[in-house]
Each structure stands twice: as C-alpha cells, then as structure tokens.
Symmetry: C2
Subunit: 354 residues, 2 copies
C-alpha cells in the first residue's frame, strides 16, 4: 500500500482524477484558519471533489496540534457520518497533515487520507514518511501513528502567499537531502536562489522538490520504523535542535529550518574535523547558508548550555555521549558517530570564526 506521490502544478485536475480513482467516496477536507482563507476558496470553486466536501476547520499553529483539535476532528467526522470508505483531504502545512493524518489513522480504526501540503516544508518533509501525530504533555509528537496517505499531491502553486522565511525554512531540509545524496544534487540546490527565483520559476522548484522528496522517500522506505538508515535524516539536527531550544529558552526563537541550516554548517565542520569531509564543499555550503540565513548569534559563554541541550536530545540513549550523523563526503553519511565535548567546542569555535 505504497503512498502515491504526485508532483504537478495542475492541482485541480490531479485532485479530481485521484478522488475518482478512489471510487468517488465522500470527501472531508481539513484546513486550518490560514488555508481556509488563502487556499480553500480556490479549490472549492474549481475542484469537483471539493464542491460537496464537508470542511473541518482547525486552529492554526503547532500549539494547536493537540488532543483538543484531534477530538474536534473525530467529532466532526463522527457527526458527519464518515464511513470506512470516506476520504480526508488534509490541506495545509505540516501541522495539518500530521494532525489530519493521525485523525484518519484512528477514526474507525483507520480511514483513507490524502495530503496536499501548502508549505515548502510540508511538501519536502512532513508529507512523506508516514509520521502522523500530535503534541502531548508538553512533548512534540508524543502521540501518533505510522500511517501513510493514499497520495500526496505536491505543487508549488500555494507557495506564492508564503513569507520568505517559511520558504527558506523548507529549503534547509532540501539542502540536507542534497548533502545526503550527491555532489550533483547539492550543486543544483546551491545554484538555485529560493528567495528570488521561486516566484517566477515554479516548475524548476517543483523538479528540485521532486528530487528532494525522492531522496527522503528512498531512505524512509529502506527503514520504515527508524532503526537504522532513516536516522541519516538527523543530519544537522543534533546541533540544530540545540540552537533552536537555546534560542527559545532565551526568548528569541528562530525558525526550525534556520536552526537546521546553521546546524548543518556546524556538523559539516565536525565532519571535516573527524571524517575529512572536503574543505571546499564545506566552505561553499557555509557561504550559501550565511548569505541566505545569516548566522546563529553564538558566544563562547553559551557553549555549556548548548552542550547540555545536545545531551538531552531524545536521540541520545546514553546521556554521557553525544550522537551525530556525520559525512565523510557528500552522499556518504555515517550514523551513530560520537564526538567529545572538546571536538564540539572546536567546531563551534570554527563556526564563529567563519
């Protein structure tokens, strides 16, 4: 029951033909306040499958990816007499696809769902891999299920209304996939200027996204329950999460994708120190990130707190060691690498000096 990935900017046609393929079932559409306003009206006026659909609206934002929103969706499905044959279309960013996917996975022990990501991050990251869920007890994605969509329809149509910061946030995950894949893929990404080019050249962006999603898909498929290879996708995230949590704790939060971009740079430095990752590629990558994302405002006095945060990362089963995915070259990741505090500090120092 592999999930179908449809890359197209002819979204209307794609949705209608998909719903017909699914046997023209009753359709429920999940939107948040943003997509209800910016995206739903377009589809509602042009898509046959949206015309008679029952719309369920949830509050926007990760803080609403919670058990209250989940119960509201369950209730509207139940009161709307959704059956095992019905289909939910999740129209939104990662919050909507995570929440709606989990609601679908658990309603009557599982009904079908389709994701239409409306953000770049959602398209690249959240819509593939079968991870659904909600935050609970103050913990991200504490409750959830592995459940794949029937199909994910990926287009760049809805990105025009996104703020630049959100585009860059999604692009950081694509850069990560490039590093995990090959010099060629990475070079294509570093040549593309997501900020200035994306409005005018959405087909080129769509092809870059397709490449990126397929890299993730191949990794996930070889390791559906996250025991081995899938953990290469943590590249950049040990340092990145520490930056993100640090910034949050000091009341100056940074977007997740920015933290990942900076984390990638530091982990490439660490890869250079420990695994002889090529210096030139490292510098090129760092220059692209600095140009587009700026730099994380790092000071030496912050090191102990950052290292403590890395230690508490949930990927670290043994608290005395700090775990990384590192690269010996572009396309050659190694999971379960450990680094000493001294090595991490050396990498952070080099990052500051760049």
């Amino acid at each position: 029951m592999a999930q179908k990935l449809i890359f197209t900017n002819l979204v209307i046609e794609a949705v209608d033909s998909l719903v017909a393929d699914l046997g023209s079932p009753r359709v429920f559409v999940l939107v948040d306040m943003n997509t209800a306003h910016f995206v739903l009206p377009i589809l509602k006026s042009q898509c046959k499958s949206f015309a008679d659909a029952t719309v369920i609206t949830t509050l926007a934002g990760d803080s609403n990816k919670n058990v209250d929103s989940l119960q509201k969706i369950w209730k509207e499905l139940s009161q709307g007499e959704a059956t095992r044959n019905s289909v939910i279309i999740n129209l939104g960013g990662g919050m909507v696809t995570d929440l709606g996917g989990f609601a679908a996975a658990t309603f009557k022990r599982g009904i079908r769902f389709v994701n239409i990501p409306t953000t770049l991050l959602g398209a690249v990251d959240a819509a593939v891999g079968g991870k659904t869920g909600i935050n609970f007890n103050g913990l991200k994605n504490e409750i959830g299920a592995f459940s794949e969509a029937e199909a994910v329809i990926i287009s760049t149509l809805f990105f025009n209304t996104l703020p630049q910061q959100q585009l860059l946030s999604g692009y950081a995950e694509m850069l990560k996939h490039g590093l995990l894949d090959s010099d060629k893929t990475l070079a294509d990404l570093l040549r593309y200027d997501i900020v200035t080019e994306s409005a005018g050249s959405s087909d080129r962006l769509l092809r870059l996204i397709e490449e990126s999603v397929n890299i993730k898909k191949n990794t996930v498929e070889s390791d559906p329950t996250e025991k081995g290879l899938r953990r290469t996708l943590n590249l950049g995230h040990t340092i990145g999460h520490a930056f993100e949590s640090f910034a949050m704790a000091h009341q100056s939060p940074v977007p997740h994708g920015y933290a990942v971009a900076w984390g990638l740079v530091v982990e490439l430095i660490l890869s250079r120190l420990k695994m002889d990752f090529p210096a030139e590629t490292m510098q090129q990558f760092a220059a692209y990130v600095k140009e587009n994302y700026g730099k994380f405002p790092l000071q030496c006095k912050d090191y102990p707190e950052l290292i403590a945060l890395m230690r508490h990362d949930k990927k670290n089963a043994v608290a005395s060691e700090i775990n990384f995915t590192l690269l010996s070259a572009v396309g050659s990741p190694h999971i379960d690498c450990t680094a000493t505090e001294k090595e991490i500090i050396a990498a952070l120092d080099l990052y500051q000096d760049m």
Copy 2:
C-alpha cells in the same frame, strides 16, 4: 510481526520468560479496579517482571473505555518516561486490552504490548485480531487502530472469580466459532458444561479455548482488514445486536454474549429456511442455548422495532437490505446473504415457538 499466542496455566513462568525474550525492558502494567484487586496482587508477589513494573489503573467497565481514560494512560506513560523500548502489559477483560492496546499503538507512534485476558470473553474474542480502540461520541469502538500485541498469554487461572453470567457470555463466542468450524468442534463444545465443569477442569477448558482462538486466528489472518472472510465472524451478530439494542432501549439490558447466543439460534433458523442447514443440528444447538441462556423475551409486536435496528447495523451499507452471515452446514459460512423482512419474521416466529 505475528502475535504469539501462549496457552498455559503456568502464567508466572510464561510472563517472566516472555519479558526476558523481549529484552527485559521497562514494564508498565494496565489494570482496572477489578483486576487491580483480584489479579494484580498474585502476579505482583510472584512475577519478577511485575515486581518493578509501573502500574497504571483505569476505571472498570465499558463506559470508561473512553478518551478520558486514554489520556490518563498516555499521561502516565509520558510522565513515567516510557520509551519506544518499553512494554505495556494489559491485565484485564476486553475493555482493558482494547484501551491499553490503543494507548500502546499510539504512544510515541507505537510501543509494544502484551495482553493477559482475565475473562473468558477477553481470552476468546478481544485478545486476538488486532482490534484496539475506545468508544467515542456515543458509538462503540468509533476510534481505534489495528495493532497486534507482541503476545497474548491465555490461561483459565483467573476465571474462578468470574460470575457465571460472564463465563456464559464468553462461551457464546466459542459456540459461534464451533459453528463456523466443524461438526467435531461444535460437538465438543455442546458436550461441555461451562457452568458446572469449568471450576474443576480448567485444563480441558484451556484446550477448548485454544481450539476456539485458533479458529478465529486463522479467519483473521486470511483477512486482516475485514474485507471478506473475516466477516463470517459476524455470524449471530445481526440478530444478536438487534436483541441487545432492543433490550437496552427498553431498560432491561442483557449481556452481549447472551444476545449473541440467541442471535445464533435465530440465524440458524434462517439458515435452515434459506440454505437448508440441517434440522437436527439446529435443534441440538437451540436446546443447548435454551438450557444455559434461557430465551430472549420476544413478542410479535416487537418485530418492527427489531427490524429497524437490523437495518441500522453498521454492517449494512445499503439500508434497504439486511445483511447476514448464514450457514449451509456447520463449517460452511456464506457472507453477504440478504433476507427479506418476511423471512426474518418467519425465523423470529419459529424462534418464539421453540
């Protein structure tokens, strides 16, 4: 990842060796108020794996198989720092295994669980098939997931404290499995007196349960998502559910298993009328049910209400027809049989006259 079925009355040894096989993880035990009182102390004092386990207690009864109890379990797992490696042991009847199985299936996107059913119905029915879930919005099992336990440990040890009515309720499902399987299996069941023999001959009962569970298991395995063969397990349930709902609506509820036993008799009559099911077997079966379960207090004036209830059964996709699993002989079930109102009324008339 097939679920292991362990039939034994040496429960202590079975639990400890199973937990060792699972890598001696942290153990959480889910009990309800009843099993906390009657069963947990025995295991806690004798089982090594229970000695250090974290106990989570839920309220008893189907009305507490709800989202509040679910959230309480999620919270205690989260606060108890359960990891993906931890194991939940569900110790109780079908309510506990359904609820605990669903909590396990959704905590951190799925952790392992073991069922130890403490009722006959739980042993025969609820612990096999991977159905987990909760009631929601007034509907039974409206929310849930298909998720199999690592293992189910089935014993008759805990049945001594059960009221006779509960034993009979579970035995009705075993009778159904007998009808679906073979003349030999059915004859063994009709020769056994669950009320008087079960206290003294628990090993014989354990063998009968093993046979019964394997019948269900084979059916479920050939059809995990309930599209075809598995629906033979609905035998007796179209009429049975109508009896159960009718009795509930008239403020004189009957146990589920009793309604199923009576439903089986009426559906055998219908099988006789429509599919030439052997008369002698039908009469033998009806006599056993009458002797042990009595009769459903049926009157002709109740027919329209009963038929309306059958029409609204969730198994009936098309409301104008009423759907049954019927038998042309013991061991020869046919799904998707329809019967007219006239035929159903004829069967109910014959039931009244018996």
